[in-house]
């Protein structure tokens, strides 16, 4: 993985940094139209810091055409009127494909059905740092709007020239340019015919403000929905190029184990089997997955293992191994925490922990690799096609232009598919076999050899005045990360600090990164302070909050939930939590009921209000919000990776419990549409407040305060 470039700092977690490629090239327009056919093309040029996060100073494509520099979106209008939008973002279930097509249709004034998106193909789409950090909506929709607006201008000018009239009087609507004065009109397709017109967009073009959107802002169903309900859509594991072999990789018995003895003669003697040993990498490719596995089984390998810590010792380890001095970037201070604590009427100090958890995307890591004439093409479900391409180029000593990575719409990721592991394995085996090779990780491999959401310890010291005003806030996160670490509450005396610790298990991004851990600690702690102040949890928060957007989601959720809620049965409780991150705001309210005889905790109801500026597609957004709530419930209640001596002890769905139908409460979502605020992303923030809302409800029901995630892996009794 590359180090931070120093140009920007997104999050201090691993894997969310990317260095820009080294080279700059100019576009050869001729070549662009050779690929896409005649018509009109418009390119958007990155012009500000936010756009730079997605783009890079140009790159050379797979076919060695020279792509434009500083480009992060482009658009092509074909001679048949088909509009194609290009972005390096990947579709991983978050429904970006639909909202991006909506955005183009809206701004270009064409029917939604005439737009298609080409996504996440390093040969065809602009460079992109990756599909993560809730960045697709805030960065790519404005870019696509600008190219669409510019394309519309080109079409209007072409029509004006055609009719020898001034462009100002012409109207673009419904895929046509019309002249109201004369009643003439021309279809976009007619205007694009025979042209090879490309324009780089300097682009200060005004775009359509949200209140005037007609196609964006609507609940348009997922593009290609029919292909998904009929099983026709081909995910990476479904691909079967001619002559393909199945690849399997020999995994060490534990993390960090090294080969000490190796004999593959029996495996190599098998018909049709290719065995590769390259350093610590051992794999086999064969005409069937069974035969590849048999070959691995026939390999005699001995490993030297190293002792490693277990999950039971992890939290004390993290505290002991934190860096003595932290980077200034990770520390914020205001006022005097010591004075604030000294002057407090009530003090609450507590320690919180979060376990390692797994993404467990239902489509496991997979890749199909194919070599031809020294060039490599890889199909793989990844969030970072360009980073995968660069890694493959690096590992196989190729130039970037000789590697093409294509991402079929993928069976989810949740931050878990940043790396190129399966792609590298398939490519290595395919090179040895001289034929395409597919590698699909087993569920056990997925649970073991992927990376995890890091564990963490969070220590909080705090004080309030007798009227409930926060006087001091001291918040330290060890290892899990700095996302969402800043308190949204008004506190004059505060210190927040993130303390990095060297990795124990391979760790990386997870939906919302450490925002879930930090919100769990903060919002649980706020609830404890509420009790100390003998105030209502909602009133206490509102008293200490000034941000009007956060107050708005709190008030909306409270109203729908019916807060304060009267208890209607024994061991019933209600809790709430809130926060903001990456430009979006969330408040979650939960009702739990604890079973009297078994002590099982059941989340009966959750209400969440969410606001992310102007909503591009309320239907897709609602799916993302509800999905985050249910995913968050797993990490809140029972998900945890168990490990000892470099082995994962629960690498199966039978032993690693994910939310299932019976766990799903009654759910209500309130989406606040702020058409006056630019759209933010929504993939992550809706997960953040789920765990503390549930934990606070458990406290309300039982008087038991749970400070460790997961809270009740074996029911309340063992918590």
């Amino acid at each position: 993985m590359s180090e931070p470039s120093g140009k920007f700092v997104l999050e201090p977690e691993r894997y969310e940094f990317a260095a820009a490629p080294m080279h700059q090239f100019e576009l050869a327009r001729r070549d662009f139209f050779k690929l896409l056919g005649a018509g009109i093309a418009v390119f958007a040029i990155a012009k500000d810091a936010t756009a730079e996060q997605e783009t890079a100073p140009g790159h050379r494509s797979f076919h060695n055409e020279e792509w434009p520099k500083d480009i992060n979106a482009w658009l092509h209008i074909g001679e048949d009127g088909t509009v194609t939008g290009f972005t390096g973002k990947a579709e991983i279930g978050q429904n970006a494909r639909t909202e991006l097509a909506q955005t183009i249709a809206d701004e270009l004034r064409v029917p939604f059905e005439s737009v298609r998106m080409v996504m996440a193909d390093t040969a065809l789409t602009p460079f992109d740092a990756g599909t993560f950090g809730s960045r697709t909506t805030p960065t790519i929709t404005p870019q696509l709007r600008r190219v669409s607006a510019a394309a519309r201008d080109i079409l209007v000018e072409a029509a004006a020239k055609n009719w020898n009239v001034a462009p100002e009087g012409l109207v673009a609507a419904d895929a046509r340019v019309s002249d109201p004065a004369s009643g003439r009109s021309l279809k976009y397709a007619e205007l694009a015919r025979g042209k090879t017109l490309a324009q780089n967009l300097p682009a200060e073009d005004p775009v359509t403000p949200a209140p005037q959107w007609t196609i964006a802002g609507r609940a348009i169903p997922k593009v290609d929905g029919r292909a998904f309900v009929t099983g026709r859509h081909q995910y990476t594991p479904d691909l079967r190029p001619a002559g393909m072999l199945y690849g399997k990789v020999l995994r060490p018995p534990s993390f960090g184990a090294t080969l000490t003895a190796y004999d593959d003669s029996a495996a190599k003697a098998m018909t049709g089997v290719f065995v590769v040993r390259d350093g610590e990498f051992v794999g086999a490719a064969a005409p069937s997955a069974d035969e590849a596995q048999s070959a691995l089984d026939a390999i005699h390998a001995q490993w030297k293992e190293v002792p490693q810590i277990a999950n039971k010792e992890i939290f004390s380890y993290l505290k002991q191994n934190a860096a003595a001095k932290t980077d200034d970037r990770f520390r914020k201070q205001r006022g005097s925490v010591e004075e604030g604590l000294a002057s407090a009427a009530h003090r609450v100090d507590a320690t919180y922990t979060v376990a390692y958890i797994a993404h467990a995307p239902l489509e496991p890591r997979a890749a199909v690799a194919q070599w031809a004439d020294g060039k490599l093409t890889v199909w793989t479900g990844t969030q970072r096609p360009f980073a995968n391409r660069d890694e493959l180029a690096d590992i196989f000593h190729l130039s970037e232009s000789d590697v093409r990575v294509i991402v079929p719409d993928t069976g989810s990721a949740y931050g878990g598919k940043h790396t190129s592991d399966a792609a590298i394995e398939a490519a290595r085996l395919a090179r040895a076999a001289g034929r395409p090779v597919k590698v699909v990780w087993t569920r056990e491999e997925e649970f073991t050899w992927a990376y995890f959401r890091p564990a963490g310890v969070i220590e909080v010291k705090s004080g309030i005045a007798s009227d409930g005003t926060l006087t001091a806030w001291d918040f330290h996160n060890y290892h899990s990360g700095a996302s969402g670490i800043d308190t949204p509450y008004v506190v004059l005396n505060q210190r927040t600090e993130y303390h990095p610790v060297p990795l124990i298990l391979r760790s990386g991004s997870y939906r919302g990164l450490a925002a879930t851990a930090n919100h769990f600690a903060r919002e649980t702690h706020m609830d404890a302070l509420t009790r100390a102040a003998r105030m209502d949890p909602l009133d206490f928060r509102l008293k200490n909050l000034s941000d009007p957007r956060l107050r708005a989601v709190m008030e909306a959720a409270a109203k729908s939930f019916g807060w304060p809620h009267k208890k209607t049965q024994e061991r019933q409780g209600f809790g709430l939590a809130c926060g903001y991150e990456k430009g979006s705001y969330v408040a979650t309210f939960a009702e739990v009921v604890v079973d009297k005889s078994s002590d099982a905790v059941r989340v009966a109801r959750m209400v969440e209000a969410f606001e992310c500026g102007a909503i591009v597609n309320p239907d897709g957004l609602r799916n993302q919000v509800v999905g985050a709530m249910i995913q968050g419930l797993g990490g809140a209640l029972f998900e945890a990776v168990e490990f000892e001596n470099g082995r994962i002890k629960n690498p199966h769905f039978a032993s690693y419990r994910v939310p299932r139908f019976r766990d799903v409460p009654e759910i209500e979502t309130i989406l606040l549409d702020r058409k006056d605020i630019p759209s933010a992303g929504a993939g992550e923030t809706p997960i953040m407040a789920v765990a503390p809302a549930i934990g606070n409800a458990i406290f309300d029901a039982t008087g038991i305060r749970l400070n460790n995630l997961p809270m009740v892996p074996n029911g309340l009794r063992s918590a």
């Binding site: 279930g93 079967r240 069937s288 069974d290 799916n623 249910i630 769905f653 994910v658 139908f661």
Partner: protein, 159 residues
């Protein structure tokens, strides 16, 4: 040892040569190109590979191909008839009951199986029946709605 086995899938007969203990899922996907049935865990824990065998939902990753030979098999590819979606497929589409959709084939096939034995299931019965199907995107509420909607469509218009 590979053995000639004849499978009856979606109304068509497929002779295949496979060791008798190979799981049906891999024959469907790797041999016959019926990739709508998904590998999610290979352990019968996630339901992504569900097919109907003799009308009953079964985890094809757990069924030896030899055991599947005697009965008609329906996979997700077999539900659409003459360009018309099965009511369950239509209801999933109408409800937007999928996100990444990797679990969708298994969800739809399981639900078709449920509605064949219980044409008007309650929410609790749907939850119970689909407990073995994992959706990681958290689309469960819409899936339940879709199954209930499909039940209504079948009641009104037939299968």
């Amino acid at each position: 040892m590979a053995k000639r086995i004849e499978l009856d899938i979606n109304g068509k007969r497929y002779p295949v040569d496979y060791p008798a203990d190979t799981a049906l899922l891999y024959v469907l996907r790797d041999e016959l190109g019926l990739t709508g049935s998904k590998y999610g865990c290979g352990e019968g824990q996630c339901g992504a590979c569900t097919v109907l065998i003799g009308g009953a939902p079964r985890r094809s990753c757990q069924i030896p191909v030899s055991a599947a030979a005697a009965k008609p098999i329906t996979t997700i590819e077999g539900l659409e008839k003459d360009g018309r979606l099965n009511p369950v497929q239509q209801a999933f589409l109408d409800a937007g009951a999928f996100q990444c959709a990797y679990c969708t084939s298994g969800m739809i096939i399981s639900s078709v199986g449920l509605l064949q034995t219980n044409p008007n299931p309650s929410r609790a019965e749907i939850v119970q029946f689909l407990q073995g199907n994992v959706c990681r995107c958290g689309t469960h509420p819409r899936i339940i709605d879709a199954v209930q909607q499909a039940a209504k469509m079948i009641e009104e218009h037939g299968r």
